[in-house]
């Protein structure tokens, strides 16, 4: 065993961590489950399941309106998650955290409430080739309605953003730039701080899609220097239907509401309504209260493990899995960025991604096959689909071994 420098975090006790996730104990098609679809959604620790369960059993009430005890408890738990999330991403203020159903809603909020009212025909929006559809389609809708143009910054064959090309696109016509923090297909970690500095110098707000970053690494929005950060809860061990938009206070302050209804008003008269301040201005209607209580538990859970240790464990798994996959004849990996999260997209010779995924499922191994909501990226690589194995800190080297052995068998079967 090689010596570990003392500044590295202590390794994880993976067996103990796996015991925290009840689903990881199940079998699929008679085999112990190997769950390698974490970029799609993560599994949930017992602490999160318990928090949701406990909320419905003991505290269920609507938030921000009832003065009775349950209402106070529900509000305090729900708003408590806002405090936790603000700390988790080092936001300057809890009031800069707008709860949404996920990243998609967060980006659409920026599209409709921030960008659409101010964008003009001939203006431009900049994104990159490696964006998820959630960071492409809302901008296309804005362009369609406003007569603005979408500009796309290219990537290299290795799957790295060409930063100078991105910066070149930041002309005075650009009203917003969007970039994914960690690519859901390639695993590439983009140099967001560098991009944010370039955008800031030109007075262009930068939106970061953080869906795949939060589950894997420490995220500090102040250090990144971006203007909007969209995130989702269900990939970071929280319930589905939870997410948030972080935005600078001055940006939120000038944004009109996106949805109207209860919860987001100060005073309603038929002559006219005054709206609540952010973040509640953007949270019309009864939210996913139990979900956000669960998200609070997920944040606590991640902090109890330590995000540095999570990142280190996943780095180890990524290196191990990449080396093992490279021994498989005919296997091509898409995305070999220097800074990369534990996401491996691949294909084997002529075998179709769906055939590979179905046959791996027969072995109890869950991977995703398809376009991963990134058609333009698939087109860039000239393939209709890839298989994607996305690992989390609760995965093991033994699971990687089983995965690679199964790929060997599948390869022969389809060969």
């Amino acid at each position: 065993m090689s010596a570990r420098p003392s500044d590295l975090p202590a390794p994880l006790d993976v067996a103990r961590i796996r015991a925290d996730f009840p689903l990881l104990a199940r079998t699929v098609n008679g085999k112990p489950l190997v769950y390698f679809d974490n970029a799609n959604t993560s599994q949930k620790p017992q602490a999160v399941i318990d928090a949701v369960d406990d909320f419905y059993r003991r505290h269920n009430a609507n938030v921000s309106r009832a003065v009775h005890t349950l209402g106070e408890e529900a509000t305090s738990a729900y708003e408590g998650t806002r405090d936790k999330l603000a700390r988790f991403i080092n936001a300057p203020s809890r009031d800069e955290i707008v709860f949404t159903s996920g990243t998609t809603q967060a980006i659409n909020l920026v599209a409709y409430s921030y960008l659409l009212p101010r964008i003009q025909p001939g203006d431009e929006i900049v994104v990159t080739t490696m964006e998820h559809h959630a960071n492409i389609v809302p901008w296309q809708i804005v362009c369609e309605r406003s007569g603005a143009k979408l500009k796309v910054a290219p990537i290299t064959e290795q799957g790295e953003l060409i930063v100078e090309n991105f910066v070149e696109l930041l002309t005075p016509r650009v009203r917003l730039a969007g970039v994914v923090h960690v690519s859901n297909v390639l695993g590439t970690v983009n140099p967001v701080a560098e991009l944010a500095r370039a955008a800031r110098k030109r007075g262009i707000p930068l939106l970061v899609d953080g869906s795949q970053a939060l589950p894997h690494m420490p995220v500090d929005v102040r250090a990144l220097g971006c203007d909007f950060y969209a995130l989702t809860g269900h990939k970071m061990f929280g319930p589905t239907g939870t997410g948030a938009l972080w935005a600078r206070k001055e940006l939120l302050r000038d944004m009109p509401p996106f949805f109207g209804g209860g919860e987001m008003i100060r005073e309603v008269r038929f002559e006219g309504t005054t709206f609540a301040d952010p973040p509640h201005r953007f949270e019309a209607g009864t939210p996913n209260i139990a979900g956000f209580v669960g998200l609070g538990a997920a944040i606590d859970y991640m902090e109890s493990i330590g995000r540095d240790r999570i990142a280190a464990a996943e780095r180890d798994l990524l290196d191990y899995a990449t080396a093992a996959l490279k021994t498989v004849p005919g296997l091509r990996i898409f995305g070999e960025a220097k800074h990369k999260a534990a996401v491996i997209s691949f294909l084997i010779e002529d075998a179709h991604a769906h055939d590979l995924a179905t046959l791996l499922d027969h072995e109890g191994i869950a991977v995703r096959s398809g376009h991963h909501c990134a058609h333009p990226l698939m087109r860039f690589y000239g393939v209709p689909a890839t298989v994607r194995a996305s690992l989390s800190f609760y995965n093991t080297r033994e699971e990687v071994d089983r995965f690679v052995e199964a790929i060997g068998r599948v390869r022969k079967l389809l060969g």
Partner: protein, 150 residues
């Protein structure tokens, strides 16, 4: 080699039609043709037919597709020889029931009964539907078809 469990979908018959597809390629002098796509996975299939007196006397298919689509197209190309559009429609109905898991076996479908296992894989059903949709589009004189609009 350890046998695959639950490998009924990828049984020998299916793998044989995948590895050695029958009637793959282009058909000189085709009278009917259609291009089909499955936008969910990007698979594309082209079917060319030669029809005489309202009957299929030749079918060839080409394109890039998964094992399920390829094997279905290959099996279909043999099954429909000498049949008319009405016959194809008549065969398609039990195939749909087969994919739903509502039908044990239908002798008229021949080797296509192997696709019955797809009722356990609802996300893969469109793979087997693509050749049928493309074939029926060709017979109907429709140049393009998608499994999402068929």
């Amino acid at each position: 080699m350890k046998p695959m469990s639950a490998a009924n979908l990828y049984q020998q018959l299916v793998l044989d039609h995948y590895r050695h597809p029958r009637n793959r390629g282009e058909l000189a002098g085709w009278t009917h043709a259609a291009d089909g796509v499955n936008p969910l996975c990007g698979d594309a299939l082209r079917i060319e037919l030669r029809c005489a007196d309202g009957r299929i006397v030749g079918m060839r298919f080409s394109g890039q597709a998964c094992a399920i689509t390829t094997a279905t197209a290959s099996m279909l190309s043999e099954l429909v020889q000498g049949r008319g559009a009405d016959d194809v429609a008549t065969l398609h109905a039990p195939f749909g029931r087969l994919l739903n898991g509502d039908l044990g076996e239908d002798l008229s479908l021949g080797p296509l009964n192997a696709m019955r296992e797809l009722h356990r894989h609802p996300s893969r059903r469109k793979c087997a539907e693509l050749p049928w949709a493309t074939l029926r589009a060709a017979l109907a004189g429709t140049a393009r078809v998608s499994t999402e609009t068929a």
